[in-house]
Symmetry: C2
């Protein structure tokens, strides 16, 4: 029976109209000059009957669901899991609930999830998109669902985006490697290299070696076959013409696969092969050698993105854009890339 209690029930109990009850419950008592006494009678009844407002009905009437959709490639990826948690906390503090969806880097899946979320009338969308064009998402944003991109952008266009300073991170890693005397890096990217985060990491990285006139190579592994692709890539490495003296894994999943391989093959890091990567993980400082990685400021990325989204949701001005906001990153230099002892 609990849960079937409605506004009418409590209105009857108190002997007032449901308008009155609604007003009181929404904190508009004062504005309408409703007496403290009446309010209390309402509160008592609410408590006695254990009334819980039906948020669905409320949403239908107000057009607001206090709900946000968070769309990422894979919530089980530690980076996105951390991001989701930060975002959840921000959202909950403001009375929002969040739907979390994983796209597996599949554009069609992303679109259908976003459409589903819009049908559920989410007030806003935060997406780490796998798309390479901006039009589809632009239409969503213009169509009344505020949207901010996170972790990846689609060019400095109409959509707001909050990302880590990927290009700079890549550059910093490369400079550090050069300083340490490394000369020929192999970059292990993703088949989804069009994604801005990955692309910029690689661009920034490669730029440095290009300027130094050093030879490098860029290879890709598939999103769904990271581990086996890494194995295949590294297995033949000595036989190939290009012999890298260090590796750059563009994200934490690739880094883990690389570490797995190097550990199994007993490759000596950093002397036989140096290693740097993106997305610092707790275990990178535990293992031997510890791993040099770029740490992204997830909390800052989330709070910035949430702030922008909130502004859009509240003002309803979905035409306004903040462009691409870049949050500084930090490189954690560790043993895997230190040829010289500092």
């Amino acid at each position: 029976m609990a849960g079937r209690v409605t506004l009418d029930d409590i209105a009857q109990r108190v002997g007032v109209s449901k308008t009155l009850v609604s007003l009181v419950l929404n904190g508009k008592a004062e504005r309408y000059g409703i007496s403290k006494q009446t309010c209390d009678r309402v509160f008592v009844a609410v408590h006695e009957l254990n009334y819980r407002p039906n948020q669905t009905a409320r949403s239908l009437r107000t057009g607001k669901t206090r709900t946000i959709g968070l769309v990422v490639s894979d919530i089980s990826n530690a980076f996105y899991a951390n991001l989701a948690r930060e975002f959840e906390d921000l959202a909950t503090a403001q009375g929002y609930s969040v739907f979390i969806c994983s796209t597996d880097e599949d554009v069609e899946k992303e679109k259908s999830l976003i459409t589903m979320l819009r049908n559920r009338q989410v007030d806003g969308l935060v997406v780490s998109s796998s798309q390479d064009k901006t039009d589809w998402l632009n239409a969503i944003n213009d169509g009344g669902t505020p949207l901010v991109l996170i972790d990846r952008h689609l060019g400095n266009n109409t959509l707001s985006a909050v990302v880590g300073a990927n290009r700079k991170g890549g550059r910093m890693l490369a400079r550090h490697l050069v300083e340490q005397g490394f000369q020929n890096p192999l970059v292990i990217g993703l088949s989804t290299n069009h994604i801005s985060s990955v692309a910029e990491r690689i661009e920034g990285f490669v730029e440095v070696f290009k300027n130094e006139n050093l030879e490098y190579a860029v290879h890709e592994v598939g999103f769904h076959s990271v581990q086996s692709d890494v194995v295949n890539l590294l297995n033949g490495i000595e036989a190939k013409r290009f012999k890298p003296d260090c590796l750059f894994a563009v994200n934490n999943n690739i880094a883990t696969a690389v570490l797995q391989y190097l550990s199994a093959k007993n490759v000596k890091v950093p002397n036989e092969l140096g290693l740097v990567c993106f997305d610092d993980m707790p275990y990178f400082s535990i293992i031997k050698p510890s791993v040099t990685a770029v740490e992204q400021p997830i909390a800052k990325i989330c709070s910035k993105a949430f702030g922008i989204l909130q502004e859009l949701m509240e003002t309803g001005s979905n035409s306004k854009t903040t462009g691409v906001v870049e949050i500084p990153v930090k490189v954690k230099i560790r043993e895997s890339s230190m040829l010289k002892s500092n």
Copy 2:
């Protein structure tokens, strides 16, 4: 303007009633003998106007939201992140969306999140509860929101629960340690030791050493201070009367903190100190020495839990319970606990 298209709009466009349109859209055309031709006209209009049904309105009318609440202690914990992903896939496949909430092991927070989710009219709840009593959650389940416990149970009572075989896992780890010649384990538990999963891991583990008449100790660390508590605990260890020759970390967060400490202090594992833990992580097989851990069958736990929940949601028989369902676990024996070479 897209998004503002309603059933009425498309009814007008086609020149039929919205009843008709609704019937067609819900696949009831055949049942009501609506002509193929009429259906097609509806579909065309839907497509032309880019109609998307308002799920909120639908929910209010039907009383179903096709929404599930997943409540765990922390979505950024790798174990729950994986669990959430498995659960998301199962739910999405059946047209459900899932709200994910983190409680930080705080009972009041858990209650307020669950109440919020109920106000949002979720069709069902899956919770990894921090509560030690069953009455509050029972009331929820009896009050019309089907609920299944996951990862932890509250005794073999009215609520359905799906958990890993924690006691057995603890026992297996202990037997393995004994076989390897370890004699005096230090168990590092959590201040939330009342939680069934942790409690049973410890019980199963301790039971073995008790039967062998071997001395052991159980200490606890705080949920919010795992790292510092682990440091404090292990720091004084040589000076204490009880000197362990191996450690049992009851979950992956504790294990990571322990590894961090052991690595920093250059403790030789397993010779100076053996280590076993719960919740296998990819990096456990990368690091040296690799870490012995119990692997929980997350996919199976989720599919079982989802199946039970679905049954409850569809039949509405929230009084039925399957009791506590235990899913077998596997222990991954690795170097951190191998004194004898096998």
